[in-house]
Symmetry: C2
């Protein structure tokens, strides 16, 4: 066929399929026509997390509404790793960074968690969701990680699903080396969560409660002090390499 | 003893030892007295990459020069992993990020490499060095990674030391999964390098040349597109977990 690769790639909430007409969000329309300067007939890549990736063309529209016409599926939908990341919210820049990088690294669900020493009290979930969409658009993922409503650590643990292992980054040095812990906790299919504490660490009581839970495995990531967002990336990278889809 | 942990931690080029007087750089003196607002008698943690970590106190000095007196060694020097990262320079923010995060993750040597598709033509090595020092101060490392002078890819490969494996991130999908490649290339002591290409990828000729070298192992990090700096962190995390000091 020899089509050039579309220069823009956007996430669509609705269905994608042969001949379907798609109306992107207003901000996306603005992006296509004003930022990317695309015009009628130009190609755009679309994905919705269910129907694979589609090549569409700009079918029309004016200043405020663009219509896209789906043409052909360019990639089928595929199963993606099932790995959650629960994290104590950080300041704006490191949180944005965490969302962007963990999306690239294939996280399936992001859960902001309030712990005793969490410095931030408010989380703008819609902002995080928009950021996850943007990151997914740019890294060619076929899905967008879900960003859950923030919960307290207590509630996260009380409602943790049966059968899902929770790897807790334990910076006190008490955890098993992460590679060994992953090897021991490999399930088929792998179904894990990773919990990263705040910059101030977990409180003594929190760590004590975590260690008593059967589904929790405390893990360590070496002798240096990692920032929370670095620890999140490191743990997720090891997970993908050892039990996820980098194998 | 019950000393409070010093609130400031700085890298010193000179020797550290019992009773030694140390004069920090002028910018460091400014940081201690004006930013951290420390005064005579206040404690500062010092390290130089050779003599472990020392508790020192501000012994005197005025507006423009501070003197520190070494008191006791708080941590002995320890051997650190021997892992190099060669990377095609990125824009300012992702390069800063790469330096900061790979320092936390324990890289021993950072080498800026110019490839065919490297977008940046100039590298401010002194800036990168200052950034590596700052990151090492903050992550409690006992050393600062060396930042080498930039080289071309050709020269990097021509001068690559015998006995050191080079893991090349191959985004064309031709490489072995990183965990498998690390298991196969584990040496004692581990002595590796990791090479990350530019955003535009390696050229066809570069990849061809790399694949022909006996010390090169092309590796892959899964089906999603990672930004260059994310790939660097992911590869280094896997290295530490599987053959470095996270075991």
């Amino acid at each position: 066929m020899g089509y050039a690769k579309p220069s823009a790639r956007i996430f669509i909430a609705g269905d994608l399929g042969p001949g379907l007409a798609v109306t992107p969000e207003r901000a996306q329309g603005h992006y296509l026509t004003h930022v990317m300067r695309l015009a009628e007939g130009d190609a755009v890549a679309l994905f919705n997390g269910r129907d694979g990736e589609w090549r569409a063309v700009i079918a029309g529209g004016g200043r405020h509404a663009v219509t896209l016409a789906c043409e052909t599926q360019t990639r089928p939908q595929r199963a993606e790793p099932d790995v959650w990341l629960a994290f104590a919210p950080l300041k704006k820049t490191p949180t944005d960074f965490l969302i962007e990088k963990t999306t690239e690294l294939g996280v399936s669900r992001l859960i902001p968690v309030f712990t005793r020493h969490t410095a931030t009290e408010r989380v703008k979930v819609e902002r995080l969701r928009a950021h996850a969409i943007e990151a997914a658009e740019q890294c060619e993922r076929l899905s967008v990680p879900e960003v859950a409503e923030p919960v307290t650590l207590e509630r996260l643990l009380a409602e943790w699903p049966a059968g899902r292992t929770l790897l807790v980054l334990d910076e006190t040095g008490g955890g098993a080396p992460i590679a060994a812990a992953l090897a021991e906790n490999a399930t088929t299919p792998p179904c894990h969560g990773i919990l990263i504490g705040p910059e101030g660490g977990f409180s003594f009581n929190e760590l004590d409660a975590l260690r008593k839970l059967a589904f929790v495995t405390p893990v360590g990531v070496g002798p240096r002090i990692l920032r929370a967002e670095t620890a999140a990336l490191a743990a997720l990278s090891c997970w993908q390499a050892l039990v996820g889809d980098w194998r």
